[in-house]
């Protein structure tokens, strides 16, 4: 029996559902370069900012009904 089998099961139990240890893609333009994961996070932040601007404040609907 593999002496590490017990350890491997334990590691697998807590392994990430999405493994991000592989190579990242990179956006390259002249001297500019940025990893795709960084770009994804920046785009998500911008989307979140836009949503925060236009989404109604919680409780506003309640107040309007009053």
């Amino acid at each position: 029996m593999d002496p590490l089998a017990h350890k491997n099961k334990f590691v697998l139990m807590f392994a990430a559902i999405f493994d991000l240890n592989g190579k990242a893609g990179y956006a390259h333009w002249h001297f500019f370069q940025m990893s795709v994961p960084n770009l994804v996070v920046i785009v998500l932040m911008l989307v979140l900012f836009a949503v925060a601007l236009v989404a109604p404040f919680p409780g506003n609907t309640k107040r309007r009904r009053k």
Binding site: D19, L20, N21, F32, P37, N38, N60
Partner: protein, 332 residues
């Protein structure tokens, strides 16, 4: 009306708020925010975990690139390595980086002394005191003139530079063994005691002993990795690993992370300067970038006092979009 009169009128009008007030529970808001962030942290760590890179050690370096390892050790011995010529805080070999009359490195002095030939080669080998052949070789080397030492160093370094797979990382145990054997075969009368010294140092490093020696210090817990890191940085192994993961300074590495994990995106401006001239070609790049970022930080803090810049929120009224219901009520 002048600019000053106009802004004074706006400020005076806003001095006393006469609009409606709304109850705001900051404790409730903070509790919700902390709860959401904590939940996000747990969910994201279950989904993505964290980077799991094997540590880069002197042992892994000496096994993967034995020829590069001994070549670097020789450069530490003869004082031609990056660390040996770095200057403060490690030694006085140079004045270090400066900007105009500001010599920060020099002012703070040698706070973390590293004597490369002693710390990386001679002292670790002296510790192997049961090996009489090695101790004899060491005595021969240390008692020789500086000119003779340099001649031995150069002859050995030239031979190592021609070793097969000098710049390649071994990918299997067999490759490691054959590359190590190629280094151990290097010999010649013009190299003096260098083949014995470097052979023993290589074996010591491959067994993990050199990592332990470089970490040893007066503290109970060994947490100072400076010597190990500087030694690794002088060789080709660590820069190769960094290049593969886009972590070099020339690759915007400051904002990257290993694997496919997002990195420190907020450092984009800091690392940006290193990509353009004059920073990318300057020997004082670090201190120049620090100065530029310091200046920009001061300007950022001074935004409320900068005419034009401080008026941007008024000219681009994003706040009206956020508080649109309030302004709609005011209009109606």
């Amino acid at each position: 009306m002048t600019y000053r009169q106009r802004t004074k009128a706006i400020n005076d009008a806003a001095r006393e708020y006469r609009g409606p007030y709304r109850h705001y529970d900051i404790v409730k808001e903070a509790t919700i925010a902390i709860g959401v962030v904590a939940l996000l942290a747990v969910v994201l760590s279950i989904l993505f975990s964290s980077p799991d890179e094997k540590p880069a050690t002197v042992q892994s370096w000496s096994r993967a690139m034995p020829a590069s390892f001994v070549a670097t050790a020789v450069s530490e011995l003869d004082g031609s390595s990056g660390t040996a010529g770095y200057g403060p805080p490690y030694n006085n070999a140079s004045t270090g980086q400066h900007i105009a009359f500001i010599h920060l490195q020099q002012w703070f002095g040698v706070a973390h002394p590293i004597n490369t030939s002693q710390d990386y080669v001679i002292a670790p080998l002296r510790a192997l005191n049961t090996d009489t052949t090695l101790q004899h070789a060491l005595n021969t080397y240390t008692s020789a003139s500086a000119k003779q030492q340099m001649a031995w160093d150069n002859a050995y370094a030239t031979a190592v530079g021609k070793a097969p797979h000098y710049a390649d990382q071994a990918e299997s145990r067999e490759e490691q063994k054959s590359n190590t054997a190629a280094v151990l075969r290097i010999s010649g009368a013009n190299m003096g005691p260098l083949p014995v010294m470097m052979g023993r140092l290589l074996a010591f490093a491959q067994a993990g002993g050199l990592d332990g020696v470089l970490l040893a210090n007066k503290q109970y817990y060994a947490t100072d990795y400076t010597k190990t890191l500087m030694f690794l940085a002088d060789g080709d192994y660590l820069p190769d690993l960094a290049q593969n993961d886009h972590l070099l300074g020339t690759q915007w590495g400051m904002m990257n992370e290993t694997g496919s994990f997002p990195g420190q995106g907020w450092l984009w401006l800091y690392t940006f300067w290193y990509q353009i001239k004059p920073f990318s070609t300057s020997a004082n790049a670090d201190v120049l970038v620090m100065a530029v970022m310091g200046l920009l930080s001061v300007l950022f803090v001074a935004v409320p006092f900068l005419p034009g810049v401080r008026d941007l929120p008024r000219k681009i009224p994003i706040y009206r979009l956020i508080w649109r219901e309030h302004y709609a009520q005011l209009q109606s």
